[in-house]
Assembly symmetry: C2
Homo-oligomer: 251 residues x 2
DNA sequence: CGGCGTGTTGAGTTCAATCAAGGCTGGTGG
DNA sequence: CCACCAGCCTTGATTGAACTCAACACGCCG
């Protein structure tokens, strides 16, 4: 049970903003003005250590923009089981939608140390509908739609795919997302997730994830070392997991 | 493969509008003016026979309000398997959101004969942001949020629940939705779904759905006859499927 | 009547869960 | 420095849940 307060650290330095900017601009080129706006936000930079919940006290759910690190949306069931709905990567936002979404009500947990900026002010600025911020607003809306599209893919994985297909599909999706954010190459990604986390996302047991990954390694589909994954046979992985090229075609 | 054109029938009579109105008003009381607006829409009433796709040609996805009958959102995988994302009941809408959502891009299939109204004009009217239509707009937004909340529940079912729990959970959810719409009592609902449809929604095989339902019948948890389901032990079903009372608390 | 869609049931198989043990690594404290 | 522990990963053995294949029953309809 992670219920301690979020540790806070304000800082004028902006080490992480590049990642976030890259992600946003890869979706939709921003104006200099918007870029500067995002950069100014980094005054509100804060940090959550790994394993800790954002908004531990439940109700707050203040909007945030992730600069570095991984987080996930999850629900804990009555019997203690966990289901992960999706992952939040650098450049992703939470709670920024002007129209509240159920996704924004889910618990968010930091999987690694996460640097983020409080985006309360950003939300207020965007709510003004200033046309100068159109591109930024649209970029963030696209990002949210993308998250929802990933949720649909997640349903398909859970409902209709084998353990190996689920893993392959998720790896490809994460690779695509990281690559958009300029955070990985086409065949190699940093995956700071424990196998237990993968299991809770993919509806599998920890043990079976370990076995399946081992099997994929032996089949030379992937290679893993100290948190880095190499996709050795992307064509096969795509075919085996029914991963479409156009799945994420959003405008 | 269902690709024939949607059969169209215009009619001035409005037999189905009551259900839709009831559903909308149960979420948020409408003004007389809004009620009249919805009723006037019934000029655009049309019908799709069971098994047919809405927008068969792909790209259209015109907005609609379902008056009677059941439909589902689904995706067909490369190997022919089907995954159902959720069900659309009388009073539910599709494609009405002003901000396009991935959910609205999914294929929608009529599971029974479906009466609906084309809501293109309604969407245009709502886009005007006329404050007199505030309640209606909010009711529809709530309905969309509800759909998204159901999608999250769906993920939990698929990821972490047994066959029996999945069925129990889904039955309770459908009961709640139908009851809101004034279309069923607290313990008895009309379920016009084949077991194959249930299987494709719950990520199970047709055969296993049949077995599990039979088992639930033998355990006196439910009773079934000719498309009607009776929940004989709601308390047990709730507990066994971890179905929360407050799961659908949306404002 | 025969065919089709749907539901049921049995037998055998497969995939993934569970239980259990051990290994590796990194950190902590004696 | 080393002993110890905790967290994470791996592997084997066993169990169990759900799948597949197959046959058959039922109602409906042309």
């Amino acid at each position: 049970m992670v219920t301690r307060a979020v540790s806070v650290r304000r800082s004028a330095s902006t080490p992480g903003d590049l990642a976030a900017l890259r992600n946003l601009t890869s979706i939709n080129r921003l104006s200099d003005e918007e870029r500067a706006l995002v950069r100014r936000l980094c005054v509100f930079q804060e940090v959550v250590p790994a394993g800790q919940a954002f908004d531990p006290d439940g109700r707050a759910a203040s909007p945030r923009l992730i600069l570095s690190g991984w987080a996930c949306r999850q629900r804990i069931l009555a019997d203690g089981q966990r289901q992960i709905f999706g992952f939040l990567l650098p450049g992703d936002s939470m709670g920024l939608s002007l129209h509240p979404r159920p996704l924004d009500e889910t618990t968010v947990i930091a999987l690694t140390r996460v640097e983020y900026v409080d985006a309360l002010m950003l939300r207020e600025i965007l709510a003004l509908q200033d046309p100068r911020h159109d591109r930024l607003r649209r970029a963030l809306a696209t990002s949210r739609r993308y998250e929802e599209a990933c949720l649909l893919n997640h349903v398909v994985r859970l409902g209709r795919q084998s353990a190996q297909a689920r893993l392959a599909h998720l790896l490809l999706e994460l690779r695509d997302r990281l690559q958009r954010a300029g955070l990985c190459t086409s065949d190699r990604l940093h995956l700071p997730l424990t196998q237990e986390t993968l299991a809770d996302a993919l509806g599998l047991s920890l043990v079976h994830v370990s076995r399946t990954l081992g099997q994929m390694r032996r089949q030379r589909l992937i290679a893993m070392q100290s948190g880095w994954v190499t996709l050795l046979d992307e064509a096969y992985l795509r075919a085996a997991s029914d991963y479409g090229v156009d799945e994420h075609a959003l405008h």
